[in-house]
C-alpha cells in the first residue's frame, strides 16, 4: 500500500495530542506546589502526601482492592468452570448461554447497575421483612452487594479469554491422559489446565482491571456507606476539587499502565513461543 503523506501524518499527530494533552496536564499539575490547577507555581509532592493522609481515600482504596481481588478470584474460578462447561455443551444450549453471557457486556453500564440495584433492594426488602425480623438481622446495600455485582460483570471477560484457549486444545491429549489411568481431576490439573493457563491468567487480570476501573455499576450497588476509589473521585469532582485528585489519577494511571504492560508482554511472549513451537514442528515434519 502507498505510504501516508504529510497531511495524514499531521492528522495522526494531532489526534495523539488531543488524546494525551489532558492527561499530561493532569499529571503535571499533580506536582504543583499550590492549589491552583491552572497556574504552575513550582514542584512539590504535597498532594501525594495529603493523599496518603486522607482517610477517606485510603479506605476507598482498601475497598477497591478488596472487592477487585475477591471478584477476580471468584470470577476466575466460576468463569473457567463455566467456559469448560460451555465448551462441552451442544451447539444450541451453548449459543443461548453465550448470548446471556454477553448481556452485561453489551448493555449500557447504567442499565446493569440499575437492574442489579433493583434486585438487591428487592431481595434485601424481602429478607428484612421476613427472616430478618425473626433473627433481628437488618441487611442493606454494602460490600456484599458490591462484590456480587462485580463478579457478575467480571465473569463474561474471563469466559471470553478462556474459551478460545479451550478451542485451541487438542481433545485427544486429555483422552490419552484418561486412557493412561489419570482420574478426570488429575487429567484436568496436569493436562487441560496447563494448556488453558494463559487464557485463565489473562482473564483474571482483565477481571481485576475491569473491577478497579468500574464506576457506574459500583455507584448503584455499593450503597451509601461503602465507597470505591472511582466513587470517591466522582464525589471529589462534585464537592471538593483539589489537586489530590490529580495525584490519585497519576497513581491510578501508572498502576493500570503497568498491569496492561504485563498483559501485553505476556501475550507477545506467548505468540513468540507458539511461533517457535510451530517452526520446530515444521522442521521435524
Amino acid at each position: 500500500m502507498r505510504k501516508n503523506g504529510f497531511f495524514a501524518r499531521l492528522g495522526l499527530i494531532l489526534t495523539m495530542i488531543f488524546l494525551y494533552a489532558p492527561i499530561v496536564v493532569l499529571i503535571v499539575f499533580s506536582f504543583n506546589s499550590s492549589k491552583s490547577r491552572t497556574v504552575w507555581t513550582g514542584f512539590s509532592l504535597q498532594w501525594y502526601v495529603e493523599l496518603f493522609d486522607d482517610s477517606r481515600i485510603l479506605s476507598a482504596l482498601a475497598t477497591t482492592l478488596e472487592v477487585s481481588v475477591l471478584a477476580m478470584v471468584f470470577s476466575t474460578v466460576l468463569g473457567t468452570m463455566a467456559a469448560i462447561g460451555f465448551y462441552n455443551m451442544r451447539k444450541r444450549p451453548r449459543t443461548v448461554c453465550m448470548a446471556i453471557n454477553n448481556i452485561p457486556m453489551t448493555n449500557a453500564d447504567i442499565i446493569t447497575g440499575v437492574s442489579l440495584m433493583l434486585l438487591f433492594v428487592f431481595a434485601i426488602g424481602a429478607f428484612n421483612s421476613t427472616l430478618g425480623q425473626l433473627t433481628g438481622v437488618t441487611l442493606k446495600l454494602g460490600f456484599a452487594t458490591l462484590l456480587l455485582a462485580h463478579i457478575t460483570f467480571d465473569i463474561p471477560y474471563v469466559i471470553l479469554s478462556v474459551l478460545p484457549k479451550l478451542n485451541q486444545c487438542d481433545p485427544n491429549i486429555e483422552e490419552a491422559a484418561l486412557d493412561l489411568g489419570a482420574t478426570p481431576w488429575q487429567a484436568f490439573l496436569k493436562v487441560v489446565l496447563p494448556e488453558i493457563q494463559p487464557g485463565v491468567l489473562n482473564g483474571a487480570i482483565m477481571a481485576f482491571t475491569m473491577s478497579v476501573d468500574d464506576f457506574v455499576i459500583s455507584y448503584f450497588t455499593a450503597g451509601s456507606s461503602t465507597s470505591t476509589l472511582a466513587m470517591e473521585v466522582y464525589s471529589m469532582t462534585r464537592k471538593r476539587i483539589s489537586p489530590e485528585i490529580n495525584a490519585l489519577s497519576t497513581l491510578m494511571f501508572v498502576v493500570v499502565l503497568s498491569l496492561l504492560a504485563i498483559v501485553n508482554i505476556r501475550s507477545a511472549r506467548q505468540e513468540k513461543a507458539a511461533a517457535a513451537r510451530a517452526a520446530k514442528l515444521q522442521g521435524k515434519g
Binding site: 500500500m1 502507498r2 505510504k3 501516508n4 495524514a8 501524518r9 492528522g11 489526534t15 495523539m16 488531543f18 494525551y20 489532558p22 492527561i23 496536564v25 493532569l26 499539575f29 490547577r37 491552572t38 497556574v39 466460576l78 468463569g79 468452570m81 463455566a82 469448560i84 462447561g85 460451555f86 462441552n88 448461554c97 446471556i100 452485561p104 448493555n107 449500557a108 447504567i110 442499565i111 440499575v114 437492574s115 442489579l116 433493583l118 434486585l119 455485582a149 463478579i151 457478575t152 465473569i155 478426570p184 482483565m206 482491571t209 476501573d213 464506576f215 457506574v216 473521585v233 466522582y234 469532582t237 462534585r238 476539587i241 485528585i245 490519585l248 489519577s249 494511571f253 496492561l260 501485553n264
Partner: protein, 282 residues
C-alpha cells in the same frame, strides 16, 4: 462426570444476576408504588421527551464527530509500517484504560473559565485582540457547562472505541484485492470508494454502536462537563434512584425504553454488519 455440568453454577448465577434483574426492570416499569399494574410510568415519560431528544441529539453528534475523526485516523494507521502501526494502536488505546472520570476531570481544568485554555489565550493576548476588533469585553470563552463541552467529553472518552474496530477491519483487507483493482485500472479514489470503504463497513457499524451506547447512557460526563445544565437520559435515570426524585418505577420505565431503543439499533447494526466482533482490547 459430564463436563458440561461445570457450567451449572454460572448458569444459575446468570439466571439470578442477569435475567432476574432485567425482569425486575420490566416488572417495576409496569407497576405504581402501590404495586398495581399500570402504564402510568410510560405515560409519564412523555413529559421527558426533551431529555430523550437532547440525549439522542448529543450522542448522535458525538458519534458523528468520532466517525469523522476516527475513520481517517484508522485508515491512516493501517497504511503505516508494522512498527508504527503497533505503537499507534497502543497509544490510541492507552487513555481508555484510565478511568473515564479522571479523563473527564482532566478536561474540567482545561475548559474552566479560569482554566488552562482561557489562561493561555489571555496570555497570548487573544482576548485583547478580539476586544479591540469587536469592541467586546471578553475575558474568557465560556466553554465548560455547555452542551458542547458534554459532546467534547463524549468524543474524547469514546473516540478509541471508533478507531479500533474500523482499524481492525481495514487492516484485515487482503492487499491482493486492492492490487487487483489497481491492475484493472482503478485510481486511488476508486479503490477507496469501491473496495476499502465497503469492506470496512462492518467496523464502522460496530464503532458506531460502541460510541453511541455509552454516549446516550452517560450521566457522569454531563454532570462534570455540563454542570447539570444539560440533563441527559443517564442523569434522569440516576435521579430516579438517588436523590429527591426517588421513583424506581419511573426509572425502570426510562431504562427499559432506552434499552429497547438501543437493542433495536444493535439489531439493525448486526443485520448490516453480520455480527462483526468489535475488538475492545488490544
Amino acid at each position: 462426570m459430564k463436563k458440561k455440568y461445570l457450567a451449572i453454577p454460572y448458569v444459575v448465577w446468570m439466571a439470578i444476576f442477569v435475567i432476574v434483574p432485567l425482569c425486575l426492570v420490566v416488572g417495576y416499569s409496569l407497576v405504581n408504588p402501590e404495586g398495581q399494574l399500570t402504564l402510568e410510568n410510560f405515560k409519564a415519560l412523555t413529559q421527558y421527551w426533551t431529555v430523550f431528544a437532547t440525549s439522542f441529539r448529543l450522542a448522535i453528534i458525538a458519534t458523528a464527530v468520532c466517525l469523522l475523526i476516527g475513520y481517517p485516523i484508522a485508515y491512516w494507521i493501517s497504511r503505516e509500517g508494522p512498527g508504527v502501526k503497533r505503537i499507534a494502536m497502543i497509544a490510541m488505546m492507552l487513555p481508555m484504560w484510565m478511568n473515564f472520570l479522571l479523563r473527564t476531570y482532566a478536561w474540567m481544568s482545561l475548559l474552566e473559565n479560569t482554566g488552562i485554555i482561557n489562561t493561555l489565550l489571555a496570555n497570548l493576548g487573544v482576548f485583547k485582540l478580539i476586544n479591540a476588533v469587536f469592541g467586546t469585553e471578553l475575558t474568557y470563552f465560556p466553554m465548560i457547562n455547555t452542551p458542547g463541552a458534554v459532546v467534547l467529553g463524549m468524543v474524547y472518552n469514546y473516540l478509541p472505541f471508533m478507531i479500533l474496530p474500523i482499524y481492525t477491519v481495514i487492516d484485515k483487507i487482503d492487499t491482493r484485492v486492492i492490487e487487483a483493482a489497481e491492475d484493472l485500472g482503478a485510481n486511488g479514489v476508486q479503490v477507496f470508494r469501491k473496495i476499502i470503504f465497503p469492506l470496512s463497513l462492518p467496523g464502522v457499524l460496530s464503532g458506531i454502536t460502541m460510541v453511541f451506547i455509552p454516549s446516550v447512557s452517560t450521566f457522569a460526563i454531563s454532570k462534570l462537563l455540563g454542570g447539570g445544565m444539560t440533563l441527559l437520559l443517564g442523569d434522569l435515570i440516576e435521579m430516579q434512584f438517588y436523590g429527591n426524585a426517588y421513583n424506581p418505577y419511573l426509572g425502570s420505565a426510562i431504562s427499559l425504553v432506552m434499552m429497547v431503543i438501543v437493542l433495536i439499533c444493535m439489531a439493525v447494526m448486526n443485520h448490516f454488519g453480520e455480527g462483526e466482533e468489535g475488538a475492545v482490547y488490544f
